[in-house]
């Protein structure tokens, strides 16, 4: 089986190796701005978040200060909205991943076949990914899921059913549908790109051997897509962990806290209730969650950089 899906270029051989023993290196000088800025961007806020998370810091009572140890974490964990918000975050990530990977794979297989107008149809499919999240949220909220005027309500009334108030009765699912609508095209585009690098001869050989489409899909297509699927899962997880705009626009975390995920909780504690300390503790927890995912992603990219998949 070919592993041609993933090829990271290894750095080119130096054309002119930097003169040995020279203190002033232009190559280093060119790197400095990027490294310094990214370093500051990453380290300073992170250290501040960590620091704020162990002090008492509320913008509404600025006279109360001082080190409080893990109190902020305790308050956060005791917040009745905290565990549900972790639950919502995970349900949101897992559901959108499932919908986008399964949907994206099926659509990629479909669009790997020739049909009239395929190029234009493909543009239609990927379009939702380019819609700004706040626009996407409002289209879904007002025009599709609205209990009176929404598209679904029209359809329900057409077949004689009572329309459903999706955002009131199934708020988290409504958010999941909105987010999945935006991210399935992303999965589709990546999986289709990977699929198009699949060796046609291999598939034709399997066909000649009498393998049906289902067996070809399971034994040739899926193994080929394995790595691309892993990439989609990891990259989407990182973005989905920070889903905010859709919730902010469509439900403001409600009704109650039914669509409050971790980012929205941190926003609500920090920028609406002005408790910097507790919000920062929430930020630290988000960083830990993201790290669990990104360790795998970085490890995989590192393997690629070393060219382990280049046969």
């Amino acid at each position: 089986m070919t592993q041609q899906t993933i090829i990271l270029p290894t750095p080119a051989t130096p054309i002119a190796p930097p003169a040995p023993g020279r203190k002033f290196s232009p190559a280093k000088l060119l790197l400095t701005p990027s490294v310094a800025m990214l370093g500051l961007w990453m380290i300073v806020p992170l250290v501040m978040t960590l620091y704020f998370s162990v002090i008492r810091y509320n913008l509404l009572s600025p006279d109360q200060t001082g080190f409080v140890g893990l109190d902020n974490y305790r308050y956060l964990l005791e917040d009745p909205a905290f565990w549900p918000s972790i639950g919502h975050t995970l349900v949101l990530i897992v559901s959108v991943l499932l919908i986008s990977v399964v949907g994206g794979t099926l659509m990629a297989v479909l669009f790997d076949q020739k049909f009239p107008g395929r190029g234009i149809a493909r543009l239609f499919v990927i379009a939702p990914f380019f819609v700004m999240p706040t626009v996407g949220a409002l289209i879904w909220k007002n025009m599709i899921l609205h209990p009176v005027y929404g598209l679904w309500s029209h359809l329900f009334r057409l077949v004689g059913l009572e329309p459903i108030d999706w955002l009131a009765d199934y708020p988290l699912w409504s958010i999941i549908v909105m987010v999945a609508w935006q991210w399935t095209p992303f999965a589709f585009l990546i999986l289709l790109t990977s699929l198009q690098s699949l060796d046609q001869e291999q598939r034709e050989a399997a066909q000649l051997d009498g393998a049906g489409p289902v067996r070809i899909f399971i034994h040739i297509t899926l193994p080929h897509l394995k790595r691309a699927i892993a990439v989609v899962v990891m990259i989407e997880s990182i973005f989905l962990l920070s889903i905010f705009a859709e919730i902010f626009t469509a439900t403001a975390g409600g009704p109650g806290t039914e669509t409050t995920n971790l980012p929205y909780l941190v926003y609500s504690i920090g920028l609406q209730q002005f408790d910097i300390g507790i919000a920062s503790a929430g930020g630290v927890i988000a960083v830990i969650l993201a790290n669990i995912v990104s360790i795998f992603l970085v490890r995989m990219l590192a393997k690629n950089l070393r060219g382990e998949y280049d046969q």
Binding site: T10, P45, V131, M132, P185, F244, L271, L305
Partner: protein, 271 residues
């Protein structure tokens, strides 16, 4: 009719069905934008098209200010990211050392930090430096946010330049500057411009930082559209017109840059 033909027709119907379902929400705003406010709620395709909603969007709100903010923030941050990233990518592609790969990975890993993890300090820093709700504030955040992608993409494009050409130029007596200006930039310009397109898309649609760091003065289109979510803003035709104008241009850019999107957003892990 042969079975192969039948199959192609079946695949075509299925493919177009999927495409229309995915595109339907966008189609709805595309149609509603040209309706009057009264017609908007009917979801009917029979109506007299009008540009009234567009006119009202421009007259009643400071729509052009939001367009200006979106454009300023995405274009300037993209240019800044490229100006900072290209030298770094050049250095890593042509003068690599033992640390280069580690450095590149570290840069990519900064992209994996969740925005919410640093929301509070960035908000406070912006507030204390007067950058909250300012265009420069958003530009700084977007530049840093996109820098790893810019470095990565520029690096891969530089890496694809055949080394023989550069060596030949060097033998002909070209200095480093001539080499960059006459050889490297022309050959990598298509790649660098598609990098720019990708960065513009990402910053145009970015909504976490814009919602948290801007409200009135620096609000880009993402924030303006979000303001339609309150009940008194339920004007579908105007909402659609405003959304249509905000989405259409960037969608055109996205369609042009779809290949680069795969490359940039997966850090080259899928080609």
């Amino acid at each position: 009719m042969t079975t192969a033909n039948m199959r192609q027709i079946g695949v075509g119907i299925l493919g177009w069905g999927v495409a229309l379902v995915m595109f339907l929400p966008i189609l709805i705003i595309g149609v509603t934008a040209f309706k009057t406010e009264q017609d908007a709620y009917a979801l009917s395709l029979i109506f007299t098209p009008t540009l009234d909603s567009f006119r009202e969007v421009f007259e009643r709100s400071h729509y052009s200010t939001f367009v200006y903010n979106s454009m300023a923030v995405s274009i300037i941050s993209t240019l800044l990211s490229l100006v900072i990233a290209v030298p770094a990518a050049y250095s890593m592609a042509f003068f690599p050392n033992r640390k280069t790969q580690k450095l590149l990975l570290w840069m990519l890993s900064t992209k994996m930090m969740p925005a919410v993890g640093v929301l509070i300090p960035i908000y406070l820093l912006a507030k204390n430096t007067g950058l909250l709700d300012s265009v420069p504030g958003l530009i700084i955040v977007y530049t840093l946010m996109n820098l790893p992608i810019a470095v990565w993409m520029a690096f891969t494009y530089f890496n694809e330049v055949p080394k023989e050409i550069l060596e030949a130029a060097r033998i002909d007596g070209a200095n480093a500057w001539q080499e960059i200006w006459h050889l490297l930039l022309p050959t990598t310009l298509p790649g660098l411009s598609s990098t720019a397109l990708l960065l513009i898309i990402l910053s145009w649609n970015e909504a976490f930082w814009s919602l948290n760091l801007s409200s009135v003065n620096a609000a880009p289109l993402t924030v303006f559209i979000a303001s339609y979510s309150n009940p008194e803003g339920l004007f579908w035709a105007k909402l659609s017109a405003a959304s249509f104008l905000a989405v259409a241009p960037i969608m055109a850019v996205g369609w042009v840059a779809q290949k680069q999107l795969v490359r940039g957003m997966t850090f080259g892990a899928v080609k």
